[in-house]
Structure formats: structure tokens, C-alpha cells
């Protein structure tokens, strides 16, 4: 069984540029999560979906961040006009309906200069 796949592995931007991260969850997993992990901190939830619906995006900076999961499978997280404070690893995770364990992808490490 393939794990959670993310791309790209790394991204380096200047402030003000835009970037998109892509996530392919484990097949059959209905719940998908995006976490932000600043350096030397634990992961912090940004948004999560059940199928195509956003369940909780209360921690997503809505002025510059957006996330979609249009068909309830793959998901895209986009940052418009990145800031240096966005420098972090962005982790995608998925969970099946009958399982409480989350499985994480390897993350995308973003550096905003």
C-alpha cells in the first residue's frame, strides 16, 4: 500500500511569491490534514477535510492561504504572497474512516527568503 505522497520536497521563495503544495493521501482515506511545522516546534493543524468538505480551517491564515480537495482525493495547499514567517515544513496526513491513526507524508520544506 502506497503511503501519503507529497510534492515538491523543497521550495525556496522570495517574499511575495506564491507556492502550491500537493498531497495524494492513502487510497480510501476519507480524511486529509494539512499541518505546518515551524523549525524546532511540533506540527500545528492548518486545515482538514472529510471527503471534499472543509471540516476545520480555523487555523488557516485565510488572507494568504487556501486549501482545496475538489474530488475528495488529492489536495492542494496554496500560499499567495509568502512571508518569511511562513518558513516551515508543510505536512500532509490522512486517516481512514475506521481507523484513528494518522499517516503522514514526508513533508515539503519551505524557505521564504
Amino acid at each position: 500500500e502506497a503511503g501519503v505522497t507529497q510534492s515538491p520536497r523543497y521550495a525556496v521563495l522570495q517574499e511575495g511569491q506564491a507556492v502550491s503544495f500537493w498531497c495524494d493521501p492513502i487510497s480510501g482515506h476519507d480524511t486529509l490534514y494539512w499541518y505546518q511545522q515551524p523549525r524546532d516546534q511540533g506540527p500545528q493543524l492548518l486545515v482538514y477535510f472529510r471527503d471534499e468538505a472543509v471540516i476545520d480551517n480555523s487555523q488557516l491564515p485565510s488572507d494568504r492561504f487556501s486549501a482545496v480537495r475538489p474530488k475528495g482525493t488529492n489536495s492542494t495547499l496554496k500560499i499567495q504572497s509568502a512571508k518569511q514567517g511562513d518558513t516551515a515544513t508543510y505536512l500532509c496526513a490522512s486517516k481512514g474512516a475506521r481507523n484513528e491513526r494518522l499517516f503522514f507524508g514526508h513533508g515539503t520544506k519551505l524557505s521564504v527568503l
Partner: protein, 109 residues
């Protein structure tokens, strides 16, 4: 406030020795998940516990929901055990994981 508190924040072990990492919860949690984050940044699943004790090789974890804590024991530490260890618990109706701040483990020869 923080719901998941980990200690210690950093730990050094000589190869072959062991220690315990602790995770305290400020509210009652129904389960705990432990992860190792390696040097490449990947979060590796170690354990998921809803109660009791699980063991896997040189690692053992316990979860006491009544007293709101979990522990991760490492014995006979090896260099490849180095990394950051996170515990996390389901919150928000059990649909999302809240993480602790991690314990940075360094295993030295």
C-alpha cells in the same frame, strides 16, 4: 492552552543505555500516538494506544488515560534512534491530532 506537554525537551543517551520520554495531557484523552521524526523530516508512526502497553523491539509505550499521561521507553539505544519524538492525542471530537513540542533525542557513541 497547551493540551499536550512533553518532557524532557532534549535528552542525550550513550549507545546501549535507555530512558523514558513522557507525555502529559491537560485534559482526558482517549488515545495517544507516538512518532519519530528523522533527520529527513519524515514522521514515522511508532505506536497508537487507546489503553495499556505496547512493545515493538527496543521501544515500549504505555498510556494511562485515567491519570492523563503516556510514556515511551527506549532501551539499548542505537545511533539511528536519534531524532525528535512527538506524542499526539486526538482532540476536537477526536478528528484531529494535537502534538506536543517534542523531545530531541541524541544517541552518542
Amino acid at each position: 492552552g497547551d493540551q499536550v506537554e512533553q518532557s524532557p525537551s532534549a535528552l542525550s543517551l550513550h549507545e546501549g543505555t535507555g530512558s523514558a520520554l513522557r507525555c502529559n495531557f491537560t485534559t482526558t484523552m482517549r488515545a495517544v500516538q507516538w512518532f519519530q521524526q528523522n533527520s529527513r523530516g519524515s514522521l514515522i508512526n511508532l505506536f497508537y494506544l487507546a489503553s495499556g502497553t505496547k512493545e515493538n523491539g527496543r521501544l515500549k509505550s504505555t498510556f494511562n488515560s485515567k491519570e492523563s499521561y503516556s510514556t515511551l521507553h527506549i532501551r539499548d539505544a542505537q545511533l539511528e534512534d536519534s531524532g525528535t519524538y512527538f506524542c499526539a492525542a486526538p482532540t476536537g471530537g477526536n478528528n484531529k491530532l494535537t502534538f506536543g513540542q517534542g523531545t530531541v533525542l541524541s544517541v552518542i557513541p
